[in-house]
Symmetry: D2
Subunit: 339 residues, 4 copies
Amino acid sequence: MKVMLLENDWGPKNIRAAERPEPEPGPHDVVIAMEAVSINPRDLIMSKGGYGRMGGTLPLVLLCDGAGRIAATGDEVRHLKPGDLVCPTYSRTWLFGTASASTHKGAHGGPLDGTLQEKMLVPADAVVKAPAHMSAEQAATLPCAAVTAWNALVEQGGIKAGDTVLLQGTGGVSLFALQIARMQGAGTIITSSSDAKLERARDMGADHTINYRDVPDWHKQALEHTGGKGVDHVVEVGGSGTLEKSIAAVRQSGTISVIGVLSGNAGELNLGRIVTRNVRLQGVTVGSREMLENMVRAMELHRIEPTIDEQRFEFEDVGRALMSLPEGRHFGKIVGLVG
Amino acid sequence: MKVMLLENDWGPKNIRAAERPEPEPGPHDVVIAMEAVSINPRDLIMSKGGYGRMGGTLPLVLLCDGAGRIAATGDEVRHLKPGDLVCPTYSRTWLFGTASASTHKGAHGGPLDGTLQEKMLVPADAVVKAPAHMSAEQAATLPCAAVTAWNALVEQGGIKAGDTVLLQGTGGVSLFALQIARMQGAGTIITSSSDAKLERARDMGADHTINYRDVPDWHKQALEHTGGKGVDHVVEVGGSGTLEKSIAAVRQSGTISVIGVLSGNAGELNLGRIVTRNVRLQGVTVGSREMLENMVRAMELHRIEPTIDEQRFEFEDVGRALMSLPEGRHFGKIVGLVG
Amino acid sequence: MKVMLLENDWGPKNIRAAERPEPEPGPHDVVIAMEAVSINPRDLIMSKGGYGRMGGTLPLVLLCDGAGRIAATGDEVRHLKPGDLVCPTYSRTWLFGTASASTHKGAHGGPLDGTLQEKMLVPADAVVKAPAHMSAEQAATLPCAAVTAWNALVEQGGIKAGDTVLLQGTGGVSLFALQIARMQGAGTIITSSSDAKLERARDMGADHTINYRDVPDWHKQALEHTGGKGVDHVVEVGGSGTLEKSIAAVRQSGTISVIGVLSGNAGELNLGRIVTRNVRLQGVTVGSREMLENMVRAMELHRIEPTIDEQRFEFEDVGRALMSLPEGRHFGKIVGLVG
Amino acid sequence: MKVMLLENDWGPKNIRAAERPEPEPGPHDVVIAMEAVSINPRDLIMSKGGYGRMGGTLPLVLLCDGAGRIAATGDEVRHLKPGDLVCPTYSRTWLFGTASASTHKGAHGGPLDGTLQEKMLVPADAVVKAPAHMSAEQAATLPCAAVTAWNALVEQGGIKAGDTVLLQGTGGVSLFALQIARMQGAGTIITSSSDAKLERARDMGADHTINYRDVPDWHKQALEHTGGKGVDHVVEVGGSGTLEKSIAAVRQSGTISVIGVLSGNAGELNLGRIVTRNVRLQGVTVGSREMLENMVRAMELHRIEPTIDEQRFEFEDVGRALMSLPEGRHFGKIVGLVG
């Protein structure tokens, strides 16, 4: 079978097609015939070796997001059968509870081999059935970005109907966060530098949109939208470039979910305002299998359609797709086809 | 001004019209010109002296639910002005945090004088602005039944999108719980003995309906609707008559909010199943001002319309309205007009 | 090797010695050479078939509590080595998070074979190292009763320094709860019908003791000890015989952990007071491996010595030991020796 | 009566003795005859106008910490009587629940007049009885630093027996945090640049001490003390100078309570590690009256003695005392005498 392999050196250019023997399931395993994958900023960082020891060693099969159909099941597997459309979980061992050294031992796509293979061997425990109404392409977007948004807002965030959630940009996590905030009854404010993207966000139900090119002090507008009180929750994906404004935009005792570090790893942080306003900064590292299952159930009830960019990349073009991510021309998840 | 007064003896028959001097606000008070009230099972129990010492002493102005317009404000009151449509809170002193001897010292309608008066004197702290889109009749239904449902599901219950909530009957708390569960993204199962009422519940968005006359073992159907797992949350209003089935219908580690005791005060309880299935029974005693404010904000965002029965009772007919409550011919809240 | 087997019919009298082949560990398993076991009311109920289908089928090796030394490890097991003193967990699959159909699939001692065997085969995931300062006899008391108390007070209860915890009787759960409440900084009130046992409880640090023979209205004394406010937490082991008084003794918004049903399965319950005082009744079904690990860590730091009754029963006398449990002549856990 | 007043310009040098008329209590107020006060870094920042608009306007009576005896009570005050030893709360309006624009409207010592006056007029709601075993000097240390530590570890932190808490330095918050962590059953690691101070911390029960002059990479030692896992909770008082190391020292899903910003307001922050390790940074802004009451109850049960530096400053020397704070020669709280 074919896999895309990062082999001789780090760097997305070094991902090459390779052949591997078809996997055989152990008694508690399943083999998934992958149909679609999707890419995340994490994958680009990973491909560059950016997570150091946490990213594992070469050769490595990248990507944590994907979906396919069960091709074979081990003798002890009862709850899955050939043909089921499924997603592998992000972390292979974090099934329940909180992230810890005992639960979260390794994620697909680094340090463990990921979804970029025609047949993926996974413990049956690390597999979740896709929402009944979704295609493989749609389901392929769920394990990483969507669970991150779900964990941030619902599991750790506990947002409630009537809360106001501030979202930054129209990347994968932010658009899932928009859909999840709405499922949970919250109002939303979303920022972007593109009026066209903001219009699409409004079509998806965003209550307020702010073009941060036109309104660099977007935190002030967020305060106005909340009667001066501040938003209840910020999903912070920009990192140090925007954190200062997020802190200014959040209400007393509010929460900022820190998801990503797009604009760089380190930044100046005004700690004083965090203290005097009792703000919580909560790091979010995707989530457990149970969170993915909870989210799948919610998405089925609400028949949520993931937002997917029109382009599709071919299996062998994954390196180019990863390198194009920072250009930000897409709207929603970028999906690739396997095989 | 006119008040309806429970004066010489307990019992709804003894509520009579009386005259009292118009109240003058102290520096931190407001006077509300009441326009509408609504009734709850609590008020009927209260009118009979059923809460003992907790219900206060005669003479007593009954009812905790109502809405009206600010008629006068004390010198120190800044956030309210004449003409604002407002509701008094259920508890005069429980503004924030959890119910305790320090926070929840007394409710309107017993032991403190309630809403059955043309002009109601209240500390400005114990008043909340009605949702902007609601009439006085609609807002008059919020402080008790709606906040009870909100507290049960959202504040103490923490339900999330995709959860399944089981509701019993189509009384005030249950119909608000239906609307609130939906705002929060949960699926709902509702029971009633009337197919006509179940159809109205379906029109309001209930996902599953069960006529418990036809299906006395409704807990089994609830299990089926959840793939055998059990519902995440039950809003238990029936008390001992239904609790056993609620315990059978709820999932492991699920929650049963115990709201009311319509079918009697005491009952047989199978403790064993609570233990082995890690079930939580959570008493719910309405809620704080902050919870009312949170709910108002959510209802404004979602433009929720309270379900109000067609009938209106006149101010002086409140005793008869209370006595008719157990007949259960209404659908939604019963509202009365003041003055 | 020798096992004690409940074979032909339910009932503690039917437990007999039997021979079974020595187990071989699979790659992720360990074999424990059991040294000591301890008994719980659960085991007596189980031996009588009292849990129905949840208790599994005959033949069955009873008991969930025990400790021994690692005798062999599977090839993939890294964190345990021969000679380590360990306890099997109560539930074989509930490692993290909350009890659910996905996590808590079966406990040792019914439906799964338990600790009454010279060599016990267990997945390495379902094993926890004993506290460094404990003997096998001491560690054998931890998985069920101690974790139940820990889960009730710490994990689900969240008690804090200065809280008051009410404990009923001097059984295994109650005495562990006394030690755990004290570790967590809470004050304690304990009841018993024996002045001698109450004196021993005082020696263990109980702040207040009540002989419920002399003071049948012990809830009133509990109220007095808390200045009329009520206790923060009750560990309810008596079931319906005492629950009414526990409800009277607990503060507004307080918690009653429902642990056991010693005095019968069903009882009259005054729901009204649960509602008006916002009381939480929380069923507690032992706990996860992570909870056992958390407790072990706490017991190591505080060098907690489990309270063990002086008697020791021999491996083959386990049936008689179980039948003597209801007599209640012991103080602390009853421990048996294996082999 | 005499007050110490910051009058013409900001700066601790400008605090001068002044005369004001003795206050008369309104119906819901009390007058406290202050006996002792204590100082916090907050007071020094406040005296310099460092909190901007949040610090209020001149003239201002500084200091939030103090204790004294009730001298007079308003007609409606029932729970306090002349002679009671009491503390004013930190925030006058934050009685229950979480910090918000509705609850936390202003603190004593800025923007509201503080404890530096012979007779202090306070609403009876904003007063708490001192622990029965404490002197006025001891009780004067509680409202700000002790409640901050209590809120960080117990109310927001939810630490439990067996957890490991890392404390920085031997300032007021850190030493209270040491006592509170121990009450709650946690182990402690404490850092300082002074071996003498570390010895005193060990005398107070610290489990591990680290001299950060000798061991600049103290986070590595903290990791070793926890078997490589990381500490459960850090009480971060140093701000940006130490935060990077705190993040390295905390376990996955652990909490860093951000209390103070001693080494400057802003700093470089490595967000990546917060994300990948699911770390929570929780700002802590003192706490509510209920938290102070909870802490008083715990301190009474455990007979906690606040750590007070030997020196006492005179009422009129408060400016000098504030200016000497950064020298750090004290151990524990610095207390001044009123009158």
